[in-house]
Symmetry: C2
Subunit: 589 residues, 2 copies
């Protein structure tokens, strides 16, 4: 039976026929690896995701974590699944052997992660937040911090969180008010409230390692005053730290992930006889936001992965339903038995759209992972810098595009199911609810737009955008060589428009009007990027025969005919420097 | 305090400054009415919706109807609200005085209904299904049927349902298998299973009047063999009929409306000592589907009303949040206190989009109601025929456009709220879940596309489409006269494209390829129609000053700049007679 989570055939195409992960084994870091080790870990991921994660996806939705005022209660399947996950060692898939890691290429690790995200996005959040947390500390923590906090995370004994938002400060981190007061022994005492903390409290692990943004009194105002601290639930000596759970949020979806309001330093516990949450500075004071972006950028691509995986599994569920559900006849046949609904062009349209969104999004996420590998292990400094810049430029798109369009895919998966898809007897309505979070957390859609248009495309005098467009042009050339001229021409035109329109937006000389158009810009460039991902796949599939490759050509062709043209009016609007949203006055609403 | 359900100011604008409902009082049927009676019933609707419907909207979502194997249990607030509704007399708002009706214009009645739909779409479904049921029987039932079944419905003592779908036959009604066997006394005995029956069983009313599609054995195959029957839960003499509740569906949203699987004639009850559900034929045998379309067309506009009302209340909730929530600063201000988020252009964009969708959708629904008034009471036969044809052509759009775009509005309402909008502590996530049903029930989105492109625009040699485009052109002329040349030009161009593209689609000579493009056609023409609704409003607002009118101009301008241009690539795709969805083969997925 085909998996309804992801297509292993497609992953193999993307990893081997397209991204050539085999070539990475020539690099010293990955020398111990081979196609066999990659296959083994992918098979293990599929098996554990299928057997331990997928079966309680609905159960966890129906029985969300409950807070009784003291502790969080959740269904036992979550802990069991996380034990199985820890046993796979995938927590440290990409990390150094020196810390017990597998030293897998990120591209392969990311493909493994997708299985768990597709199977159960709520349960998978616990280890994935932990991995991002550990990666930050591996990069910026002291050896002692790594030994004390990271190693138990990699063993699956401790879990990690990221604590940025506060009730009054979500998107605007400059306004956080959590305070960290230094003590003579080099530690800090933190006090304040943190909101939207996923995995903020539970009994799933021996300890929870919070990474917390806070301000040291007397420091500079705004983001320059923000520092980063390790604040564990239990101190190394076993004392309970002064971090307490103030409440859990009741979400529409993503319910398996407990989401909390945490109070730091309210005096419920008194470690060392003193109220205040003990914290350990990571890096230097005032560098907190920069360090947190190490984790945040990884988390943003991870959010894109969540969305892509949900879009993919929704598509496979809809496909399975469309193959088996019979209803109606073709317009040319007035009688005869009902046909499988996949035979109806409008159902095929909804499946093609889902396929083009989900496979396009997964391609983008794996491409970003491949860039991370090149950033870390590229042959030359220039290669590594190039990969870093391109990944940095693509990150807001890798976060936002799957969040928007794989949500649209899940909407279509419901529609394919008709009334059944609207009931909780079928899986797809949950995917849609779960996926809706992805446009919000780790920086809203609007924040991604500002990041792309306001930062990424202007940094280094526009080098990131130039690199992106040059790289896409390389694909256009390859597509021409492969005889894909129509698509090559369409993408070349879109590249030219992207360059022209970006220049026009910034030539206005009025950042307010430029930035007022940033969401539209994000969406237009996102579609260009995913058209590029499709052309990359079509080049890899060129000359190959069989249903799988015909399917790639059909979905890619669909994207070029039905989707890429949406950017036409978007670019025209951007070029007009539209002032609609800037000039409207609050009292007109 | 401003209502968060709808804007009475906007309704007054639409009803009086635009649709001139006052002029209807010159017609004999409405001669007893006046601005005062209209205002009174609108105020009553707002009050009862606000006081009796809105307060239990979330409660009904959290505590959906439960079936214990014998009876359906629901929260008591529903029955209380429905008693209050019955007491208003609005059930019979549009009906003849001879049956106890108010003889209100449909335009005003529709505006009243919107208050209840905005307040609590789940509870409002019971009376609105009842009204549609009663209207069908008033038009096609015998005087005895009207007396026995309709009058108690109008008094609020009986409720009504429509029973079309079966587990194996949803969109494809030709395949229903419910049988109706004639008896010598002129009654029938029905047996079969009906799926997705809203309000199919409950204790809210003394009786439930099911309108059931079934086939008389020996009749023609397909839709010509379908007849329509009244099948009450209790017969007139009080005996329990052989209709039993087999189960309730557990939906993602719209939970307040119990949705059921009903078994007819399974022998659980034996009226008159015999198994089989007693049914009474409505009209003639074999005319069932045609008669049901009387109810279905009304229900389709009603679904558009549901969607529009949900979009509208979601918009007002988001607006309220955006005015009060502070976060961040304008890009030009690095310091200073946080501003209300409505000051951020990207939030203003999301509010403008919602305003343009919700107000555009409500305008379309009221315009359709006005056409119904003209169809019934227009001065001349030509006027009435014209109104009938235009309404018939617009019905698939009135159903589909609000369902799609007011769902998009609810999505944006969540986004404006950020993380809070994703929690059940705020109202907007429920609106989004509730609204998702509207693209599915009463004919899916795909069915509406086939209805528009495959039936409505070809019927009578294209007269419906010509009338629509001529009518829009009339608005274009009025807009030019009002100095709205830019918008007039844009809409005139869209009208021309609609005509050209429709001709190109049908000139292909291959209905299969034409109809494979029907959803895209539906969506493109839908946007043209709503741009027209906006231009109508802008003409009505022309020359008027003040925030309200400036708001109309801002939202209308937004629709013309950001939305109407989406149709450009859609029309180009249609004109290309795209075969993507027709040529893809099932094995390629």
């Amino acid at each position: 039976m085909r998996s309804l989570l992801l297509s292993r055939r497609d992953l193999d195409f993307l990893l081997h026929e397209w991204l050539d992960v085999g070539a990475l084994t020539a690099r010293e870091r990955f020398a111990e690896h081979s196609r066999e080790t990659f296959d083994a870990v992918l098979e293990l991921s599929e098996r554990v995701a299928t057997e331990q994660f997928a079966p309680h996806n609905r159960t966890a939705d129906l029985h969300e974590p409950e807070f009784d005022g003291e502790r969080v209660h959740m269904i036992p399947e979550v802990a069991k699944a996380l034990e199985a996950f820890a046993a796979t060692g995938i927590t440290a898939a990409g990390m150094d052997e020196s810390v017990g890691g597998m030293q897998l290429p990120q591209t392969v690790a990311q493909a493994c992660f997708l299985w768990f995200q597709a199977a159960n996005v709520g349960t998978s959040a616990y280890p994935f937040l932990t991995i991002a947390n550990a990666n930050l500390l591996l990069a910026h923590g002291t050896p002692e911090q790594v030994e004390t906090w990271v190693e138990p995370m990699l063993e699956g004994r401790y879990f990690g969180t990221m604590c940025l938002s506060e009730p009054q400060a979500g998107s605007s981190l400059a306004d956080i008010t959590t305070r960290a007061e230094p003590r003579d022994d080099g530690t800090y005492r933190l006090s304040g409230n943190k909101m939207w903390i996923s995995g903020g409290d539970h009994d799933l692990s021996e300890n929870i390692v919070h990474l917390v943004l806070a301000k040291v009194p007397g420091g500079p105002a705004g983001v320059k005053g923000i520092s980063l601290f390790i604040v564990p639930k239990f101190l190394a000596d076993g004392q309970r730290n002064d971090v307490s759970l103030a409440g859990v949020n009741h979400k529409m979806g993503f319910r398996g992930t407990v989401n909390t309001l945490l109070n730091f330093g309210e005096g419920r516990h008194t470690p060392g006889g003193e109220a205040g949450a003990v914290g350990y500075l990571v890096g230097e004071e005032g560098r907190g936001l920069a360090l947190m972006f190490h984790m945040m950028n990884e988390a943003r691509v991870g959010v894109g992965g969540n969305a892509a995986a949900l879009g993919y599994t929704g598509y496979l569920h809809a496909l399975d339903y469309a193959r088996t559900r019979t209803q109606g006849r073709p317009p040319t046949a007035k009688s005869g038995p009902p046909v499988a609904i996949i035979e109806h062009p409008d159902v095929a349209r909804m499946l093609l759209a889902q396929k083009s969104y989900a496979e396009g999004a997964v391609a983008l996420i794996l491409y970003c992972a491949r860039l991370l590998d090149d950033e870390r292990t590229g042959a030359t400094e220039v290669d590594r810098a190039r990969a870093h810049l391109l990944l940095d430029t693509l990150t807001p798109i890798a976060k936002s595009w799957p969040s928007q369009w794989c949500l649209a895919a899940n909407d279509l998966a419901i529609q394919v199911h008709g009334g059944y898809g609207y009931t909780r007897e079928y899986a797809v309505e949950q995917f849609w609810r779960d996926n809706r979070l992805n446009m919000i957390h780790e920086g809203t859609h609007g924040i991604q737009g500002l990041d792309l248009l306001g930062r990424k495309v202007v940094l280094h005098d526009g080098a990131g955008l130039r690199l992106l467009l040059d790289t896409i042009t390389g694909t256009v050339d390859a597509a021409r060589a492969a005889g894909l001229d129509d698509h090559a021409d369409a993408l070349a035109a879109a590249v030219a428009r992207t360059g022209e329109v970006t220049a026009a937006l910034w030539a206005a000389g009025d950042p307010a009007v430029t930035l007022a158009n940033s969401s539209t810009y994000l969406e237009a460039v996102g579609h260009v990027v995913v058209a590029w991902m499709w052309l990359e796949q079509l080049v890899a599939a060129a000359g190959r025969e069989g249903d799988f490759y015909d399917g790639k050509r059909a979905a890619g062709g669909y994207f070029f005919r039905h989707e890429l043209p949406r950017t036409g009016p978007q670019f025209a609007l951007l070029e007009s420097l539209d002032r609609s949203t800037l000039d409207v006055r609050p009292e007109w609403f």
